[in-house]
Amino acid sequence: MSEFSLYLLQQLINGLTIGSTYALIAIGYTMVYGIIGMINFAHGEIYMIGSYITFIVIAGLMSMGIVSLPIILIIALVVAMFMASTYGWAVERVAYRPLRGTNRLIPLISAIGMSIFLQNAVGISQGFRDVALPPMVTGGWALGNPADFEVTISYMQVIIFAVTFVTMTLLTLFISKSRMGRACRACAEDLGMTNLLGINTNKVIALTFIIGAALAAIAGLLLGLYYGVVNPFVGFIAGLKAFTAAVLGGIGSIPGAVLGGLILGVTEAMTAAFFPSEYKDVVAFGLLITILLFRPSGLLGKPEIEKV
């Protein structure tokens, strides 16, 4: 293969890595939107909190003398998911549930307020500056001829792919097979009717927030380890990207969120390959606007028919 196509392959791999984490965060947006039709603006902050908890747990375990990498990662994953879910649940309970049924701008403002609050709360308690973690997972596979261009897949990227894949599979099984998953789908179809049929919709809504937060925490762990840096403001741009991914794929649709995330990740990586990397956000949003023009309900979204 030529040097150029190898370079493209490398960018594709990088793009898919980032894209799969976008997909993880996007699911949180899409599930909440699918059920209660609101944009959970504080979702990006949950991702950021997930990253912080990961760093705290890793630092704590290392100082306790535990050095086995798999154990550290698994404990960090479990703790981050648990804590972030608690945050997700609490945010829903405090800022959104009392406002359900009002004008749809009201919960949005409340969510923006919550997002500002969480950003600053973490900033005040953990410091506003970057916190860096030395790389935990190093090494990788190299493909191609080392003489001209080498395509590398780092082990971290492999972990990201594997974890994302397993999580997505579990989530799909949960949504399609379990009783609670069925309730989730019913709520997305018609919240009022589901309530009438004797399903505790409050519980289902809380559950979607918990699932979304847990997935965001996984993304927080993965990206935190991948970049090795976190600060209180990473949540905003990641959340924005993930929301873009959710809208791109058709908001309310879980496969759509995954597809949107991957497309967005690859587009960004490809843009960064040819243009200065600052323009990748411009291209990402440009892509969103273009797709919405031709498919107003996203790639996999169902067109919504307004009825009187």
Binding site: G37, I39, I53, F55, I56, I58, A59, G60, M62, S63, M83, T86, Y87, W89, A90, V94, A95, P98, L99, N103, L105, I106, P107, L108, I109, S110, I112, G113, M114, S115, I116, F117, L118, Q119, N120, A121, V122, I124, S125, Q126, G127, V131, P134, F236, L240, F243, T244, V247, P276, E278, Y279, D281, V282, A284, F285, L288, L292, L293, P296, E306
Partner: protein
Amino acid sequence: MTTNKFYNAIFAAGITLILACLMIGVKLDTSGTQLAVKGATTAQWTWIGGGIAIVFLSQLFTNQIDALFRMIPKPSISTMLPEEKKMATLKPWLIAGAIVIMVIWPFMVSRGSVDLATLTLIYIMLGLGLNIVVGLAGLLDLGFVAFYAVGAYTYALLSQYFGLSFWVCLPISAGMAALFGFVLGFPVLRLRGDYLAIVTLGFGEIIRILLNNWTEVTGGPSGISGIAKPTLFGLEFTRKAKGGEDAMTFHEYFNLDYSSSYKVIFLYLIAILLVCFVIYVINRLMRMPIGRAWEALREDEIACRSLGLNRTAIKLSAFTLGASTAGFAGAFFSARQGFISPESFIFIESAIILAIVVLGGMGSQYGIILAAIVMTILPELAREFSEYRMLLFGLLMVLMMRWRPDGLIPTKRPHLELKQQ
């Protein structure tokens, strides 16, 4: 019931403990290259314990606390105002009085408060502009700051490269922002509400990134400085006149001693003028068929279409007019600051403007003015706890939405009521 409450309270206390663990309990600490975790001090644990106790007790006694809160009457503006008929005759006098007070006021207070008032007036302008889009036409715009930026940069660039004066640039800035609004609005206004929100949000980011990276023209992250201040019919407010031999400054012309506060007061008066102009125009528009159509479209789109109203034209007009107001505010902003950079046009600004509109009560102009005052003055008052400023701001937004979801002064529509015989 009581046991249920007890479990609830224990549950809430447990959740609080978990949440507090991250925020206060542990702290990341970098020692060299290694990351370490520091536990909280005893005092901080006492705080956490106190917080948990408060949550536990408040959950246990929710009913009693609710009853207590219900005893405090909610302030209602409408009951405090005189009757409607009296109000109608009083209104012109009240408005005239308010304007007179606003014009005289800056001569008696400190320079800092006049400056703050000018900032408030900018936010009032922005709030009124966004109110057309969100409050009246019901289009959720999360990237309003983009038009503000367009207005600000239009003036800054025209003044820097072509030396045009503020008064010439003011309409050009508004027109430029309107053009951007039109170009963006034309394709995206077909989208459903929330998609529109994210597209406008994306547009806001695009503008900011472009301003940040187009270094040759916009100066990139370091921005543009030395933007010319507005002049009073050619009279400058500097110590020495810059514009040639026979140019005079304000204090020379009127034989006054030089004082820098003239400039501040002059800017404030311009802001008052602009705000009055914007309010007047919007008020007239609201009473025109187009204004009625905005509100009708917000209430029921399908009904509007079946009555033969052109949906795109109506939405586009609201979007464009809102944008031009932001352009107005932007041009004034860059004239006041004398320096602009993309840092001034981040998403949080859009969020603050949106919060002003929602907090004020969507569609209500008095409400927006009040909310703009609250939103700019409160952070200033909280300057002592500068670290906690944004934290409190976020918390306040959440609490206000719970306390008064209809805004500080909910809109009153003209309506007729049949009196009972």
